[in-house]
């Protein structure tokens, strides 16, 4: 809870900083020219651009967090995104191949099978998650390139209805509200347009994963497993089966995320589509309070963590910070966030220890 509030605070601070930066810029350059001040960052269009990306990357971060909570890691996430979208694109073949109603369930099954493969190797053969998924990172991208014969894939102009899932918004459901001709759109229309489809899908996933992790007994077991695998096993939890399930959930969600990415981008180059996305997902999960040692983490935190990273990425562009410095900003902010968290955690622990001492006296 404290963590979640802290993250919200951090995002608000960032927004204020960005706003004042823009204001300062206007004060120095625009005021003399008589230009009115308006914030680009805190504008509707910017949020409309930003929210779908938060949704898409949020789905991946959710997938990653399930595995991180067990004390593992899934480095193959970006490659799974690539492989699944390549397979889907090839089978659909710009609308001339198989039916999407067949292809997408099949693609999702393949991603689940990848998860089973990871889970079996990790839990039953006792191979380290880092190694298994690292090999996946290499292999799946290579498979994708092989299947695609190294050519760029896409859905072309087909599947326009399906693409709504990746790039549409709720406004598309209400044709009567859509602005016509030159008239400015109504407030409801603007708000509906903000609710992007990937964001909605991400929220649905967040609710499902949240209920699973925080409210179901299985989720409790997952945390116990992450905190201390041995003691979890001795207390009667079937740790192997549970770990296997975590990897299946992770790859499954990543596969769905991959298809959504393909809808949004519609141009899948197997050699670099989705590369580094696993690291964005890890960064989001860690920033959101998941420990790489396992056992801690919560869904709202993860969502806010990835949102923060996406806001940072957006800020770099909107404030016109040089592209080269982008990763300095992102890396610095993540490190600062994690350090601040550790600092407050220690302080509260110290205070609690002092209070306990006082009570015993």
């Amino acid at each position: 809870m404290r963590k979640t509030l802290g993250l919200i605070g951090l995002i608000i601070v960032l927004c204020i900083l960005a706003y004042s930066w823009e204001w300062l810029h206007w004060y120095q350059h625009g005021r003399a020219l008589g230009l009115p001040f308006s914030s680009n960052f805190l504008s509707l269009t910017n949020f409309k651009n930003l929210l779908p990306w938060i949704g898409l990357f949020g789905i991946l971060a959710l997938a990653q967090s399930v595995v991180i909570i067990t004390g593992g890691i899934d480095l193959s996430l970006g490659s799974v995104v690539c492989l699944i979208s390549v397979i889907a694109c090839i089978l659909i073949n710009k609308g001339e191949g198989w039916s999407p109603f067949l292809v997408f369930p099949l693609a999702i099954c393949i991603s689940a099978l990848i998860g089973v493969w990871h889970g079996v190797l990790i839990s039953y053969f006792n191979i380290q998650p880092f190694v298994v998924t690292l090999c996946g990172l290499f292999a799946y991208r290579s498979f994708a390139r092989f299947f695609a014969k190294d050519t760029t894939q896409g859905f072309g102009n087909a599947l326009s209805n399906w693409k709504w899932l990746g790039k549409g918004s709720l406004l598309d459901w209400f044709p009567s509200l859509q602005p016509t001709g030159g008239s400015p759109p109504s407030t409801i229309a603007l708000l509906l347009d903000l609710v992007a489809a990937p964001l909605v899908i991400m929220i649905i996933f967040a609710i499902i994963v949240g209920i699973f992790l925080h409210l179901s007994p299985m989720g409790r077991h997952l945390f116990a497993l992450g905190a201390n695998e041995e003691s979890a096993r001795f207390s009667g939890i079937q740790t192997n089966r549970l770990k296997l399930m975590a990897y299946v959930i992770c790859s499954l969600i990543a596969g769905i995320g991959g298809i959504l990415f393909a809808f949004k981008v519609n141009s899948v180059q197997p050699s670099d589509f989705g590369s580094f996305y696993e690291l964005y997902a890890v960064a989001g999960a860690v920033l959101g309070g998941c420990s790489l040692r396992g056992g801690t983490g919560n869904v709202p935190g993860v969502i806010l963590g990835i949102a923060l990273i996406m806001v940072l990425r957006n800020l770099v562009n909107i404030l016109g910070i040089r592209s080269e410095l982008e990763y300095v900003v992102i890396g610095g902010a993540i490190l600062a966030g994690v350090c601040a968290d550790e600092f407050f955690l220690r302080r509260s622990q110290k205070r609690r220890a002092l209070e306990a001492q006082r009570e015993t006296k």
Binding site: N46, N49, D150, V265, N266, S267, R313, N317
Partner: protein, 338 residues
């Protein structure tokens, strides 16, 4: 029992792999011994000249170049080894280069990923075989010649397209993967040079590290930050479709002009639909064809086709709505798509 089994298994694996390795090596060793038996026949008909072509990554662009090398292989009767570094890194290129030299190819055409830092590696290779650069040059190396686009001139061509579709003094944003690649810099310089005279100004350059999703987000963000931008220029092949998608998502199709490079399907469709004003295309087919031709001539000791400055430039083509149909059908024919 179980431990014995694993031991046995690992030993057999090691032995099997050793056998495999030696048998591979054996094949190579036997090849030099074959010529004596076939020496009576003319050497050119039995031993084809073997040349290699190394790309810098995997993309449609290189598919077209591969078609060019195949055509040349047929026309000139040589064997072509076409290698694509899967990760697109300089280290991988080095490995491939070394492997090919070990294989004893007569010549190599490479598109160096990072020319300045790879000079030493290229020089090493140039001592052992005929080395030429294509697509991306390494002018300080011992390469025999360079075959490719003059990217400065390509930038100038893009500048002309911009001038044709926007009024003088318009604001322009440039999108590219990374600016540390020489071709990106040259294109940008050529572009700047050309548009200087008409007062067009480049207000921002955004990089995306070849992440297509980010390339789209960059365009969306730029449209928020600079509502008065008149034209986007995409310097690398995927930037065209990315700009088109970004502009479309922001609902500004038709209001903002797009000029880009290369011939991705989506780019050509955009040109056909009128959403992209024009695209400057290179001739990768010619890169492949000419590279093989020059390498074959070099292997035969013929250097007549290499000019004084050691640069063979293959002119670019500006594809706009007028010529997109002819260009696209020719391209499909080359790639074997119907």
């Amino acid at each position: 029992m179980c431990r014995n089994f694993t031991k046995l298994f690992s030993i057999t694996t090691v032995i099997a792999s050793l056998f495999f390795l030696t048998s591979c090596g054996g094949q190579q060793q036997t090849s030099p011994t074959t010529p004596p038996s076939t020496q009576q026949k003319s050497p050119t008909s039995t031993q084809k000249i073997k040349v290699a072509f190394i790309t810098n990554n995997a993309s449609d662009f290189w598919k077209i170049a591969e078609a060019g090398t195949k055509k040349a292989a047929q026309d000139f009767g040589v064997d072509v080894i076409f290698r694509i570094p899967s990760a697109g890194t300089a280290e991988q290129q080095q490995q491939i280069l070394q492997d090919l030299i070990t294989l004893g190819v007569a010549g190599i055409a490479i598109s160096p990923k990072d020319p300045e830092n790879q000079t030493e590696m290229l020089n090493e290779a140039a001592k052992k075989t005929n080395l030429i650069t294509q697509d991306s040059d390494a002018p300080n190396s011992l390469r025999k010649c360079y075959i490719g686009t003059n990217n400065f001139d390509a930038g100038v061509e893009a500048g002309k397209l911009i001038q044709a579709c926007t009024p003088p003094g318009s604001k322009i944003i440039v999108c590219v993967g990374t600016l540390d690649a020489q071709n990106a810099r040259d294109r940008l310089d050529g572009l700047k040079k050309q548009i200087e005279s008409t007062g067009h100004q480049i207000i921002d350059v955004r990089t995306d590290e070849t992440d297509r999703a980010k390339a789209i987000a960059n365009v969306q963000d730029a449209l928020v930050r600079y509502p008065d931008v008149a034209c986007f220029v995409g310097l690398w092949s995927y930037n065209g479709p990315a700009i088109l998608n970004g502009v479309r998502d922001s609902g500004k199709l038709g209001q903002v002009k797009i000029v880009c490079f290369d011939e991705e399907d989506e780019t050509l469709q955009g040109v056909k639909d009128g959403h992209i004003y024009g695209t400057v295309v290179q001739r990768p087919f010619e890169f492949g064809y000419q590279s093989v031709k020059v390498l074959k001539e070099l292997a035969e000791g013929n250097t007549t086709s290499i000019p004084e400055n050691k640069q063979i430039f293959i002119p670019t083509l500006s594809v706009t709505r007028e010529n997109v149909d002819t260009f696209w059908s020719e391209l499909k024919q080359i790639l074997g798509k119907s």
